[in-house]
Every structure is written in structure tokens, then in C-alpha cells.
């Protein structure tokens, strides 16, 4: 008897976009009931591969077998009919519709062919939500009123409302807190126990250890390793496959006592915003990196944006180099020498239609202009100098910024403030969407900028990043600073205890 064919078998998949070969002969086998992890740096081809699998992209060559039969996934609907569902990183829900309407969007239970049977839809939605461990979500609520984590559950409920045999999850844990991640893993476990296959994409290696069965590693559009055992392959090997290097996180060395004896460049006094965070004090000296650690919703980004003037404080003040800032004014903050690398790079920092040069020069345009007239040669030269200083790749500031990797886009944002002559750098999740290999380089850049005399305030949801990069750490819980200590005196467990329990070491 022939062995059971795999649930899904993709072989020799290639897909080119103008100027880029995104997939270059990728093979992928997925068995029913397994968690198959897909690893790879940004630009390795993960997104393209899952879009092919979802029917959103058509491959140039290659074959796809589904339960032993050759198939063509001509459209997302075709993939859905076969039982392939995809949960994208950016959730595709309609905010102004209810949970039940979203779950059944496109396949509403109907009477007489077009009258939506609302009660049936609500009941089946409630049932699905219960199965997903979230019976508290009301099927009648508008999706726009739900938290990000709850929206993800709704997205999963939608996938399960079809007769699904394979679910693709694209970085599902990225926006979740630890306890929500646990629930996610429980759901994945339940699904695989029912024989559903899960293709799981994540940057976080420890997650893959916990729930993965097999791992396929993509690099530069090729599968450099297929079907490795997820639990027993050494981390070093996996990272080496992804990057060609043997290290995961490398943090630059800390100077002994940065900024000692100097006046603080940034001094925050009793700053607060009603309903977001309580009054707190903070100083950052030149040469120092101060980290804010806390969970999603602990007020980290809000604090940073309030210091920057993008939100108006309800109390307190921000003092830069001895001079108080006008509250709630970004322009005042920028003039005083503050620079922000925001959390949502594409939405908050970049002009995606423009070149690297124009993205870098945007905050210092008047420096290259006489009476409003821009000296484009000087602008290009300055942008080139600033991006070279940060080893931005490619070494050509005339290329459109959208063609850069996440890490290099982040460097362009840093170059913007470097060019401006900024003295206090506020970094909000600086390595979000930056692949493992590029992170170490970015850490080194941040440390170097601090060594050159910048004051850096860093916010990150990744505790090892804060502990590894910062000199001093403030731990936040529900809008309150619960602990302050030098980074060397803290470890990951201690910080996680603090952010969960909130008991200061008094």
C-alpha cells in the first residue's frame, strides 16, 4: 500500500516580480495535524509563499498537490473552497460590522437565498468563539470596538467557520501579550489534535520550539532546509541557516558609566496623561540609553509620544538641556533636539512613494534651502553622508524607500534625526519588523550614537532587547513605573515578574 500523501505538497514554486525573484524553486510539504513552521528573514519570501498558498498570487512555475491531487489555486476563494485559510498579520476585518457578520462575511447563512439568518449566524459564531477560548466576546459587538488580540480571535473564528484543513498564521503572536500567546498555543494544539494542519510563521524562535513539529527555513527565495525537527534542531543551526551567521542577538558592549557627571539632556518631571499613565520622573544623560520595559497597553508608546509632544500631557513637563518644552508641540520638541523613531514605521515615519534622500532630509529641509529653494546637490550629499554613517544598504539614497528592508528603513529614520543634529533620540520598538541578522547591526548603531553623545530613550516589548541594550531600565505596569534599576541588576525573569505582578522591590 502506498503511503498517505502529504496534505499539501508544493514543489519548485517560483514567482518573480519586476526586478525581484521572490521565490526561486521552493518546496514545502505539510502533513495533516502538524504545526509546520516557516522561518526566514524579511524578504526571504515567506509572505510571497503564503500568498501563493492563499491563492492571492499565481506562481510562475511549480506544482501544488492537495491531498495527492494536482490543483491550481486561482483565487483566494478557490483556496478557501479546498480548505486553506490564511490569517494575515494585518487583520482583514471590517470594523463597522459586527463579530458575527465578519465571521460569516461572504458565506452568510441565508433563508430563501438572500435573507441573512442573523440568529443562526450569531449562534454559530458564539460556538466558534467558545471553541477558541473566548466566550466573552459578544458576537453582536462591532469589530472596531475590540482589542487587537480579540480581533485576531475573530479572524481565526472566520477561518474556522469554513471547513478548514490547513490554517496559515502569519506572525500571529506579534501583537499579543504572554497570556494571550498561551491561549493562541492552546488553540493551535486543539486544531492539530483535530487533524488540521497549521503553517506557522514567526520571528520568535522560542515559540517554534514550543509548538512546532517541523521547520522549513527560507532564505533569498529558496528553501535552504525543509522539514527539520522543530524541537531538536539547535537554535544555532536554525539561525545559521537564516542568516549565515551563528548568533541570535549580539548586543554591543556597554561603556562603564555613560554620562556620569554630566547634566541630563532629557529630564521628565511628573509627566502624566489621564487614563494612560501616571506621573513619573525620568532623566537621560548624554551617552546613556534608558529603556522602558512593559507589556502592550502598559503606556510605553503613549509616554514616548507625550514626551515628543505628539500627545498633550495632563500634568508635568519635559525639560531638554535645561529648558522646558512647550507641551503638546512636536515642532517645539524637534527644534529642541528631540527625534522619534515611531512604532509603526510605515504609517508614522515614512513617505513610501519617495526616495531615501527625501525621507532622510524631510526634517532638515530648510538647511538645504535658500528662500525655500532646495539645493538638491547639497541635499543628496548630506543624505548620502548620513546614510553611509549608518551603513545603510543599498548605498544609494536615490532608490525608493519602499524597496529597502525593514532594518534599512529604520536606519533611514535614524539618519533623518542624525542629519537634523538631534540630541535626544526616542526609539519606539526599533526592531519591529527587522530581521534577526539586521538587529545586531541596529543595536550597534544605537550604541554608537549614544557614545557620540546622544541621549537615547528606548521602548521595547522584547525584554531581552531592553536588558541587552539599555544602561538603565524603567519597568512599567499599567501606566505606572514600578521599578527602576541598572540593566545589569535585572534579568528577564525578574522583569517579567515585575510587569505581571507589579510588586516593586521595596
Amino acid at each position: 500500500m502506498a503511503p498517505e500523501p502529504p496534505l499539501l505538497s508544493m514543489s519548485g514554486i517560483t514567482k518573480s516580480f519586476p526586478g525581484v525573484r521572490a521565490l526561486d524553486g521552493v518546496d514545502l510539504d505539510v502533513q495533516a495535524g502538524e504545526v509546520h513552521c516557516l522561518l526566514g528573514q524579511n524578504g526571504a519570501g515567506k509572505s510571497t509563499l503564503i500568498k501563493v498558498l492563499a491563492g492571492a498570487h499565481q506562481p510562475d512555475t511549480g506544482t501544488i498537490h492537495w491531498r495527492g491531487e494536482p490543483v491550481t489555486l486561482r483565487s483566494p476563494i478557490a483556496a478557501m473552497r479546498l480548505g486553506i485559510a490564511t490569517i494575515y498579520q494585518e487583520l482583514d476585518l471590517v470594523e463597522h460590522l459586527s463579530v458575527a457578520e465578519n465571521v460569516h462575511l461572504g458565506h452568510e447563512p441565508t433563508a430563501a437565498g438572500f435573507v441573512v439568518r442573523r440568529r443562526t449566524a450569531k449562534e454559530s459564531t458564539a460556538h466558534l468563539l467558545k471553541r477558541l477560548g473566548h466566550p466573552e466576546i459578544d458576537p453582536g459587538r462591532l469589530v472596531g470596538e475590540l482589542s487587537a488580540a480579540q480581533q485576531q480571535i475573530v479572524s481565526m473564528a472566520r477561518a474556522l467557520s469554513h471547513d478548514v484543513r490547513l490554517i496559515v498564521m502569519d506572525e500571529p503572536s506579534a501583537a499579543l501579550d504572554p497570556d494571550e500567546v498561551d491561549n493562541l498555543f492552546r488553540i493551535v494544539g486543539d486544531l492539530t489534535a483535530d487533524g488540521v494542519a497549521v503553517v506557522y510563521i514567526s520571528h520568535r524562535l522560542e515559540e517554534i520550539r514550543r509548538i512546532g513539529d517541523r521547520v522549513t527555513v527560507l532564505k533569498d527565495g529558496r528553501a535552504v532546509a525543509g522539514g527539520l525537527p522543530a524541537k531538536s534542531t539547535p537554535t544555532r543551526d536554525v539561525v545559521a541557516l537564516m542568516t549565515g551567521r551563528n548568533v541570535e542577538y549580539v548586543f554591543p558592549e556597554r561603556p562603564a558609566a555613560p554620562g556620569q557627571g554630566e547634566q541630563p539632556l532629557l529630564h521628565v518631571r511628573g509627566l502624566a496623561r489621564d487614563g494612560e499613565f501616571e506621573p513619573f520622573d525620568l532623566t537621560v544623560r548624554p551617552g546613556e540609553i534608558v529603556g522602558l520595559a512593559g507589556l502592550v497597553g502598559s503606556g510605553r508608546s503613549e509616554i514616548l509620544e507625550t514626551i515628543y509632544g505628539a500627545r498633550k500631557p495632563s500634568a508635568g513637563q519635559v525639560v531638554v538641556a535645561g529648558r522646558p518644552l512647550k507641551p503638546g508641540s512636536v515642532r517645539a520638541a524637534v527644534r529642541a533636539g528631540l527625534g522619534l523613531a515611531p512604532e509603526e514605521r510605515k504609517a508614522q515615519a515614512l513617505l513610501m512613494l519617495e526616495s531615501v534622500t527625501r525621507n532622510v532630509s524631510i526634517s532638515s529641509m530648510s538647511r538645504f534651502a535658500k528662500a525655500g529653494w532646495i539645493d538638491r546637490g547639497a541635499e543628496l550629499g548630506a543624505a548620502r553622508a548620513a546614510t553611509r554613517e549608518l551603513s545603510l544598504r543599498p548605498d544609494n539614497p536615490s532608490v525608493p524607500i519602499r524597496t529597502l528592508s525593514g532594518g534599512n528603513q529604520q536606519k533611514a529614520v535614524l539618519a533623518r534625526w542624525l542629519l537634523r543634529g538631534c540630541r535626544v533620540l526616542l526609539l519606539d520598538e526599533p526592531t519591529r519588523g527587522v530581521d534577526v541578522g539586521a538587529r545586531a547591526e541596529l543595536y550597534a548603531v544605537v550604541r554608537r550614537l549614544a557614545d557620540e553623545g546622544l541621549a537615547v530613550l528606548l521602548v521595547s516589548s522584547e525584554v531581552p532587547e531592553v536588558l541587552g541594550l539599555a544602561d538603565r531600565v524603567l519597568v512599567l505596569r499599567e501606566g505606572r513605573v514600578v521599578h527602576t534599576a541598572p540593566a545589569q541588576e535585572l534579568d528577564e525573569h525578574r522583569v517579567l515578574d515585575l510587569v505581571m505582578e507589579g510588586s516593586p522591590a521595596s
Partner: protein, 339 residues
Amino acid sequence: MTQPVSPPRGSADKVRPAAEAPAWRGLMARADVRTLSLLGVLAALIVIGGITKPDEFLDTRNLQLVLTQASVIGVVTVGMTFVITSGGIDLSVGAIVALASVWATTVATQEYGFGGILFTSVLVGLGCGLVNGLLIAYGGMVPFIATLAMLASARGLALQITDGRTQIVTVDGVLDLGERDAYVLGVPPLVLVFAVVTIIGWLLLNRTTFGRRTVAVGGNAEAARLAGIDVRRQRLYLYLLSGLCCGIAAFLLIILSGSGQNTNGNLYELDAIAAAIIGGTLLSGGRGTIVGSVLGVLIFTTITNIFALNNLQSDVQQIAKGAIIVAAVLVQRRTASTT
């Protein structure tokens, strides 16, 4: 303390051509494809005009007429291009042209002669633009709604001023410029103004901080704000600029018709938006092209002229315009998706 990075002396002109060329040429080629296809359409129209009415269409006088007619709407379109590039819209341009043209041709204004008419046209345009800008930038109103309100009020006010009557211009200086054989520097005066406005508009959009800020606000307003740009002030300036263009266009229209009417500038907003869009300016903001807008205006004006020469009614013209808008946007979508 970190010093601002300053460009190494002379580094700007020592740009390494080898590394620079591909991306640069790529951008140029893309811009060229769009511009060339518009030029192609215009050329095709001229051929059609030349074949159907060889004597009349290619006559110098007729070509001058086409350019003169394009001038009024062209000046409005340059202003509109800035507003759309910033992610906004100005529905009130036609109404502002009407109001400015009647306010500048009242008996009282005409007593101040040429200067009075010019000054009033421009001032009324700027005033309406100021109201639009304040409502949108500082009042937080959606551009569509604010300028829709301006459209209604300005038209109403124009009707109130004229009581529906045509106000004949009696100032000689103005009438002289409207003569068929009036030339300034060898070109019809309206065409000269159109050309100057176009050149200034192109320089403003492509070579100045004002243009950069416009593109930044349209491309990503939040990013522009967090980069330290005063987004609200920029928005105010943009609607002022559109109002200014309307004021200039109103003055051109007064010259052209020798009168002021409250029905002037009817549906200019749609013509200007359509010309900007087929020219390649993104309705969602973040990219704008003055050259494309001007070509868009010329294409529409040429169609109107050819249809009129061939005794085709305006209903057929409207259908053709609609088809061209659809075709242009479809072509742009195709070129956009392959780049």
C-alpha cells in the same frame, strides 16, 4: 554632542554615476512613459483634428483659440494639482472664479480701472481660499465638505451681486487685452499668463521646500507631523494657493469675455480634477505632476475644439471626456502595477 552631518565639500557634484544611474533612469523612464502617453494622445487628437477639418483646425487662429481657452481652466488646474497632491480636494474653484469675476466687474470696482479689476479678482480668490484653508486646517473639516459649502455660498453670493445679469466691462485696458490680435511678447496675453503660472507651479512643486511639504503631507500626514512639519499651516497655504489661482483665472475670464457673470466657471472643479487625475496626480495624495496636469487640460480643450468644429454636440463631448478619464486611469493602474 553630535554635530549635524554636513555634506563633505564638493561631494554633491561628485555623485558616482555608476551606482546612481539605474534607479535614477528608472524613475525618469517611469515619469516619461506617463508623459509620453499623454503627449501621444494629444498628438493623436491633433491628427484627428487635422484630418476631419484640415483647414479650420490647423489654422493658426484656431490653435491660438485652443490655447487661450485652455489658459483659464489651466491656471485653476495648477492650483488644484497642489491641493490634490496634498491629499485634499477643492470643489469650490468654479464658484470662486464666478464670485471673483463678478465682484471685480461691478460698476464700483470698474471705477478703479484695470488695477482695481485685477486686484479685486485676486483678493476675492485669496479670501475664499483663506476661508477654505481655515475651515480645513484649523477647523478640522473634511476638504470635500468645506469646499462644497464654499461652492454653494460663493455661487449664491455671485448671483446676489449680479442679480443674474451680465456685467459688461468698460475699462479699455482690459478690453484691449481681449482683442483677437492682442499680443504680449509675441503670444496672446492669456497664454502668457498660463505659461508663467505653469512654470512657477512646476518650480514650486519640484524645487522648493513648499513643494516637498505638500508631497509629504499628501503622502503621509502623520509622518510629516512627526517629522516636525507644520501640517496645518501647510494645508492653509495650499487652499490659499488654490484660491489665488482662481482669482487669476477669474481675471483671465474677464479679459476673454469682456464681462463678469455669475454662471462663470461652471463645473470647473470637475474639469480641473479630471485634468489633474489623467495627468498622473494621485487622488489619494503624495504624488503630483504639473506637466501632466497641463497636458490633461490641453487634451480636454483640444477635444472640445475638434468636436465643436465638427458640429458635434456637447453631450457627445461629455461622453468622450468620461471615456478618456476611464482610459487614462486604467493605463496608469497598469503602469503602476508593473513598477
